[in-house]
């Protein structure tokens, strides 16, 4: 027999009371464990998105521009770069101005940092021009079902979204008509019957097959197919293709026009996965939004680009648009999470406080029920410190067990919380959470016992006789 063993026996002596104590600790530990797991996982998910998408600026029609309903505006503050803005547009013609302002702001930002000041003998830093990609979102009937169809300039798009990969198919070649030049694309129309036509009166090809304006007189009749090569290509988000069972080369009808699947995207766990992509020029004809785009993504081409500065400048100088920096969006998300975290933490801490208080009461009650036994232990030679150790050991074991229980429950709750709050983070579990749970369990258990244990270990033995007469 050792003091530890005695403590264990003592613990088993009051199974119900100890179970009550343990379960309140379990709840507190579980709450805190699940909360820290979820918030940690959510933060990691945010960091991962930023790491993956780089520092991208998203330019969208500003809230005041016509056609946007409040509900659609709400969707703006989402972290991914794939959020959909329906019903409000930026003229394509505004893009050069946007890019000019952007470049200017970036340059100014660098100069402010002292990065672009020319010093004789030292080569100037050359800023690569930023790349940009427009999108046009439209709800459309795809094979009889309403889907978000997104017009993209394919090569620009996958350059900006460098994390995109195809699981099957391939990207258009650099020379493909469908993507390179919007001027070329503007020669065709899509009728309300879905048929494609070309404005032969104004456009044609020269002897080398290059497209020219009709005013040049040397126009030959233009064969439709080669000019519009790739106009009916469709690329599918991974999740969409999977759900519809669509494969490479399959046909699909958008509104009344037929498209062919040329590529299927790898899933990225974003809204991108559920979209159907068609060439921008085709989308503009199909939806009668010639010269308009829904948003422009700008990918900064320098590490530590002063994108924040560019955002401020754009919002100040270009009317009708709102520029949002990826990091800002992430910041909003961070704020949201940290607010939620703080709120839940407050709930948990008050739970723990109430828990400790009730444990304290139970413990005090049960210890006073043990007064005679304490007298006996003292009489047979237990010193104050040895008595104190019995109580501490008992509650150490109790706290440890409750900590383990709370950890296991907390793991489960983390998954529930994650789906309940719609955080959608991949739950990441490290041993640090286990140690923390155990420490918390033990501390809760010990905090509740230390004072009564101290008081009782100092109890005079004579006083323990007294209770005998009273009981």
């Amino acid at each position: 027999m050792k003091i530890m063993k005695l403590a264990m026996f003592e613990l088993l002596r009051r199974p119900k009371k100890n179970l009550v104590i343990a379960s309140s600790i379990v709840i507190a530990v579980a709450l805190l464990t699940s909360l820290s797991i979820v918030s940690n996982s959510a933060n990691l998910a945010i960091m991962e998105i930023i790491a993956k998408t780089g520092h991208t600026l998203t330019v969208r029609p500003s809230a005041s521009s016509a056609g946007s309903s409040g509900e659609e505006q709400k969707q703006e503050y989402k972290l991914t770069t794939s959020e959909v803005v329906l019903g409000s547009y930026i003229p394509e013609a505004a893009v050069p101005e946007i890019m000019k302002n952007y470049e200017k702001a970036i340059k100014a930002g660098w100069e402010k940092k002292g990065g672009l000041v020319s010093t004789p003998g030292i080569p100037d830093i050359v800023l690569e021009p930023a790349t940009w990609a427009p999108r046009l979102f439209e709800k459309a009937e795809v094979d009889g079902q309403e889907v978000i169809v997104t017009g993209i300039e394919i090569r620009k798009e996958y350059f900006v979204r460098f994390w995109w990969n195809l699981t099957s198919g391939d990207w258009p070649a650099e020379t493909d008509v469908r993507d390179v030049n919007t001027n070329i694309a503007s020669i065709f129309t899509i009728g309300s019957d879905g048929k494609v036509g070309i404005d032969k009166a104004e456009y044609g090809v020269d002897s080398s097959g290059k497209l020219i304006a009709a005013q040049d007189k040397k126009v030959k009749a233009a064969p439709l197919k080669p000019i519009l090569k790739g106009w009916d290509d469709a690329y599918l988000g991974g999740a969409y293709a999977k759900s519809k069972g669509l494969k490479l080369g399959d046909k699909l009808t958008i509104n009344k026009t037929e498209f062919t699947v040329r590529g299927i995207l790898e899933e990225t766990n974003s809204a991108d996965d559920y979209m159907v992509y068609i060439p921008m020029s085709t989308a503009q004809r199909l939806f009668h939004k010639e010269g308009l785009v829904s948003m422009v993504s700008v990918r900064a081409m320098c590490p530590n680009c002063p994108v924040g500065d560019a955002m401020v400048e754009l919002n100040k100088n270009v009317t009708g648009i709102t520029a949002v920096s990826q990091l800002d969006v992430a910041g909003v998300q961070f704020d949201f999470f940290s607010m939620l975290y703080k709120f839940l933490l407050a709930v948990v801490i008050s739970t723990i406080a109430v828990g400790i208080f009730s444990i304290f009461n139970i413990v005090t009650g049960s210890l006073y029920a043990r007064i005679r036994e304490i007298g006996m232990l003292k009489a047979i030679g237990a010193s104050r410190f040895q008595l104190f150790r019995i109580f501490i050991y008992e509650h150490f074991i109790l706290g440890l067990a409750a900590g383990i229980g709370g950890y296991v429950l907390g793991l489960g709750m983390a998954y529930v919380l994650n789906s309940l709050l719609d955080i959608g983070a991949v739950i990441l579990i490290t041993t640090a959470f286990l140690w923390r749970a155990l420490a918390l369990g033990i501390v809760c258990s010990l905090v509740a016992i230390i004072y009564p244990a101290y008081k009782l270990s100092k109890l005079k033995i004579t006083e323990t006789f007294r209770t005998q007469w009273e009981s």
């Binding site: 027999m1 050792k2 003091i3 005695l6 026996f9 003592e10 088993l12 002596r13 005679r372 036994e373 007298g375 006996m376 232990l377 003292k378 009489a379 047979i380 030679g381 237990a382 010193s383 104050r384 410190f385 040895q386 005079k460 033995i461 004579t462 323990t464 006789f465 005998q468």
Partner: protein
């Protein structure tokens, strides 16, 4: 030369809700080594208080308790615990057995708190406990739990527990309380054995007259003092008892 156990001017005042209760009013007492003392007296006369003051359980308000010449109430908590652990075997009614431990573990328990390392030799300790329990005719019940034992058997286990650390003094406060006459006699016989064979000094508090037959010394207490000038202690006890 001082006696084995000696008290000088022992006073104990309890404070109960602003009121003073003088349980001991200056007790001078000497007990020789190997004595078998039985304290008698009316309830509330201060027997328990006196005995627990001698055993290092209740601190006196005034006076000294000398054991082999040492004032035990000058010891600190650790030393006093050690004193109780090694010098004294207690048998108090309120010091019941622990219900979660079996007989063997209950007997061995004082050794847990021994600071002496030889006491931690669990095998030797176990065999000692078993031999004590065998002497007390309790060998069959070594693995039983207190709730499975009769009142007399529980007392035997408590005796074994009191003896496990080989103390020189056994203090027993009403060790046969609530027992029937036959069982009481058995327990008293055991005490006689302990006094004879183990040469322990026994100090027993009891209301029961059965003890008188076996005791070497009888001390009667009244109102916190020892009744000294007494020709016949039995008469002193009987005094006030309803006679026909």
């Amino acid at each position: 030369m001082s006696e084995f156990i000696e008290t000088k001017g022992l006073k104990k005042i309890y404070h109960v809700g602003g009121q003073k209760v003088e349980a001991l009013k200056g007790v001078d007492l000497e007990i020789a080594k190997g004595d078998f003392v039985v304290f008698m007296g009316h309830s509330g006369s201060g027997k328990t208080t006196l005995v627990s003051t001698i055993g290092g359980l209740t601190r006196p308000t005034e006076g000294t308790v000398l054991i082999e010449g040492n004032d035990i109430w000058k010891l600190n908590d650790k030393q006093l615990s050690h004193f109780r652990n090694r010098k004294i075997g207690f048998m108090f009614q309120s010091f019941s057995l622990l219900p979660t431990l079996n007989v063997l573990n209950n007997v061995v328990m004082p050794a847990i708190f021994s600071t002496n390392s030889e006491r931690k030799d669990t095998e030797a300790l176990k065999s000692k406990a078993i031999s004590l329990l065998t002497d007390l005719d309790m060998k069959r019940k070594v693995n039983s739990f207190p709730s499975e034992l009769s009142g007399g058997e529980q007392r035997r286990v408590a005796i074994a527990r009191a003896l496990i650390n080989d103390p020189e003094i056994i203090l027993a406060d009403e060790p046969t309380g609530e027992l029937d006459i036959r069982t009481e006699r058995e327990v008293i016989d055991i005490f006689c054995q302990i006094n004879k064979t183990y040469q322990k000094t026994l100090i027993v508090v009891s209301h029961s007259l059965t003890w008188l037959e076996k005791a070497k010394t009888i001390i009667v207490m009244k109102d916190g003092l020892i009744f000294k000038d007494l020709a016949d202690p039995v008469e002193a006890i009987m005094e006030g008892v309803c006679k026909s």
